[in-house]
């Protein structure tokens, strides 16, 4: 079922274009990663999705409700952390959750349940000002899933979490996506972490979406393209038109599976010994950098 639909979303402040032509849709159970450097437009896009910033053009629909026209109906199904888990520091974690719960028909047992889920049982009655960033992230996540939203949007939720916390959060998100059929958007700079639990990614750069694809699609593309060779000499300009020298014995090049045989033949004919040929498995980070490079060239 279609949960979120962004169509030609456009945001301009003065003459500066912040987000341009953002279009994608999200179904139940999808986990979409937003990737991009600072200022790429990820947070602005998220803010437009939850009504914190206005749209200069395009439309955002959540369960068919337009975020501008039917804000309350649209946002009722959304749980979100935007930028930071900004909670009331002078209140306890529990009081913050009670405030969040008061907007929905939520009883105390559900509050206890999410507190257990994020592992804050022992500290929930302490003031938030005494929490670490990681604890505040956990509390923010608890507050955002309290009302069983169908769309969960988390802006940099891994910030401040220790490896154990990251693993726990990944488990929670995977469970919410698979068991509760929750659609999730996660933005992060820790690209390698997104790779392990996102099934789709949107790569942002300077307000544009450079790539919007499933993880499998991206991996398929990259798996076909990049090969790593261990060679006797890396001075191959006369033989190869394009390659990357990694160190004095290794080069990297892009090629189709069919063409790699021809390349090997050419190297051997020119007395370059090839000791090892390895198809490189690219991570999300590599794809991101590659896409970014391409965008700069563009």
């Amino acid at each position: 079922m279609l949960v979120l639909e962004c169509r030609n979303v456009f945001k301009k402040i003065g003459h500066h274009v912040i987000v341009s032509d953002l279009s994608f849709s999200l179904n139940e159970g999808d986990i979409l990663g937003f990737i991009g450097p600072n200022g790429a437009g990820k947070t602005t896009s998220i803010k437009m999705m939850v009504g914190l910033q206005s749209l200069s053009g395009g439309s955002i629909k959540i369960f068919g409700y337009d975020i501008r026209k039917d804000f309350t109906k649209a946002i009722r199904q959304v749980g979100a952390i935007v930028e930071n888990p900004d909670m009331y520091m002078y209140l306890t974690g529990y009081e913050n959750l009670k405030i969040a719960a008061s907007f929905y028909q939520i009883d105390a047992s559900r509050i206890d349940e999410v507190v257990r889920m994020v592992g804050l049982e022992g500290r929930i009655h302490e003031k938030v000002k005494n929490y670490s960033l990681g604890m505040r992230q956990r509390l923010g996540i608890a507050a955002s899933i309290l009302h069983h939203p169908k769309l969960l949007i988390l802006d940099e939720p891994l910030n401040g979490l220790d490896p154990e916390g990251i693993r726990e959060l990944k488990d929670i998100l995977l469970r919410l996506a698979h068991e509760d059929k929750m659609a999730i958007i996660v933005s992060s700079h820790i690209l390698s972490e997104l790779e392990s639990f996102c099934n789709r990614v949107c790569i942002f750069s300077r307000g544009h979406v450079l790539k919007n694809a499933t993880i499998e699609e991206i991996k398929k593309i990259t798996e076909k393209e990049v090969y790593q060779l261990e060679v006797s000499s890396t001075k191959l300009d006369s033989i190869l038109s394009s390659y990357l020298v990694i160190d004095e014995a290794h080069i990297e090049l892009s090629s189709t599976k069919e063409n790699i045989v021809n390349i090997l033949k050419a190297l051997l004919l020119n007395d370059v010994l090839v000791y090892e040929v390895k198809k490189k498995v690219l991570g999300l980070e590599d794809v991101f950098l590659k896409v970014m490079e391409a965008s700069h060239d563009f």
């Binding site: 803010k47 109906k73 946002i75 959304v78 935007v82 900004d86 009331y88 002078y90 209140l91």
Partner: protein, 472 residues
């Protein structure tokens, strides 16, 4: 939903330490205020520490002067003055004897001193002194009355003998007024002391005299005339009822004065809460927490506005209760049965109201002012997200409004009546009274206040609805 949001906002306000600090200061002021009235005022409501004449210093100066003077008459005058001052020291500064010793005893003492051989003069002095010491003020008042009556007779004779003499006629009129007052004093046993009856009589006479001479040509003269009428009617009422309604050390006076005495605290609390609810949320980012909930922004801003007014109402109630309790402890609750007096300019009548009702009227009259400064504070908060700006501008407007009004009146800057901080002064029209500035009336204020309120409220809502939450 709005009530649920207000409940959340109230909870948040009650969790802030700053609000308790300002409430604590306010209640401390409340206590100090009540205590000082208790300590510094007597049962008649007179201030105990008013500046006293330094009689000893005066005596010392006169004695030095006496040694320099050679003339017998001058020496006698100084001796008389010294004697009277020494006698004056024996009476309370609030007594009629203290105030009138020179008027009633000077001649007798002077006669006794200048004719030291004359027993008749001595006897006359001693007789007067006994009456003076025995608090026989009626004797002296009657003496005054007889003197004035004789003076009136003399003046009448002179008027008959002369042609139209405006000076004499004016003097006659003055003497007749004085006679009336003396007769009133004698009939109602009002001594010329610092008691409330004498004060009321003096004020009444003064107001009536000024009214007779007063002009009513310009707006300012008419306003002054209205104030004289009020003064006259109120003091007339006190004289007739013989109740000290204007006594300041009563629970009535403390409660009736709350809206004026604690205005600064109420303004600060209102602005602090309003700024806290808007600017803090913007600055700390918690607005994001609130704005992504299924509630419209209109309801959110409305709930914040109502909450700030609710906290103001609670603060007023807090002072009311505290002042009631403290007033009861320090002064007793008897004055509650008396009520408070107010002058209704429209009816030209003095009304006795229960203090709670009078307090409620004064609260209602001030409410438009608080509604407007709260609104301005929220608007500035949304516009600038700066706590200082959103608090200081309305605070300055509130503080300087009275001065600005005085400037407008003294320089006849009538255009200033259109300023929002002039139109919110509804307490100026309480009981049909008028503003000091010509053209600034109840209807005018109602119209312009409503226009300003609607415009500012519209701007606040639209601005809040459209305002983007900027990235950090």
């Amino acid at each position: 939903m709005i009530f649920r949001l207000m409940k959340i906002e109230v909870k948040k306000v009650f969790k802030r330490k700053s609000i308790y600090v300002i409430w604590g200061l306010m209640l401390l002021f409340c206590f100090v205020n009540s205590f000082l009235y208790f300590r510094d005022y007597d049962d008649e409501g007179r201030y105990l520490y008013s500046k006293e004449e330094d009689i000893n210093e005066e005596i010392k100066a006169l004695e030095e002067e006496k040694e320099k003077v050679q003339n017998t008459n001058a020496t006698t005058i100084i001796k008389t003055k010294i004697e009277l001052l020494k006698l004056k020291k024996k009476f309370s500064k609030d007594s009629w004897q203290y105030a009138k010793i020179n008027d009633y005893l000077y001649d007798a003492v002077y006669e006794k001193n200048i004719r030291s051989e004359d027993n008749a003069a001595l006897e006359r002095y001693q007789k007067l002194l006994v009456k003076f010491k025995n608090n026989d003020y009626l004797y002296f008042l009657k003496q005054d009355r007889d003197n004035i009556t004789n003076q009136i007779k003399e003046i009448k004779k002179e008027i008959l003998a002369s042609d139209e003499d405006l000076f004499l006629e004016r003097e006659l009129k003055q003497k007749e007024e004085t006679l009336k007052v003396l007769n009133f004093r004698i009939k109602n046993h009002i001594r010329e002391d610092t008691g409330y009856l004498n004060q009321a009589l003096v004020c009444y006479v003064q107001a009536r005299e000024e009214m007779q001479e007063g002009k009513k040509n310009t707006y300012q003269e008419r306003i002054h005339y209205q104030e004289l009428k009020k003064e006259k009617k109120i003091n007339e009422f006190i004289l007739k009822s013989r109740v000290n309604y204007q006594k300041e050390n009563t629970v009535n006076a403390l409660i009736f004065g709350i809206m004026n005495d604690y205005e600064f605290f109420f303004v600060v609390i209102l602005l602090m809460v309003s700024a806290m609810m808007i600017c803090d949320e913007y600055q700390t980012g918690t607005f994001k927490f609130l704005l992504i909930k299924p509630v419209s922004r209109f309801i959110i801003i409305l709930s914040k506005y109502f909450t700030s007014l609710l906290i103001l109402g609670f603060s007023v109630l807090l002072v009311f209760c505290f002042q009631f309790i403290l007033g009861g402890i320090f002064f007793g609750l008897d004055s509650l049965n008396l009520g408070v007096i107010v002058y209704d300019y429209g009816l030209d009548k003095v009304l006795v109201l229960h203090v709670f009702l009078a307090f409620f009227y004064s609260f209602l009259a001030k409410l438009p002012f608080y509604l407007m400064i709260g609104l301005i504070c929220l608007l500035l908060g949304v516009l600038t997200t700066s706590t200082v700006t959103s608090m200081m501008i309305p605070l300055m407007l509130a503080i300087f409004s009275p001065f600005m009004l005085d400037v407008a009146v003294s320089h006849q800057l009538y255009w200033m009546k259109y300023l929002p901080n002039f139109t919110w002064r509804f307490s100026d029209y309480l009981f049909a009274s008028s503003s000091k500035l010509e053209g600034l009336g109840f209807q005018f204020s109602c119209i312009w206040y409503s226009i300003y309120f609607v415009i500012l409220f519209f701007f606040l809502v639209k601005l809040f609805q459209r305002r983007d939450i900027q990235n950090v």
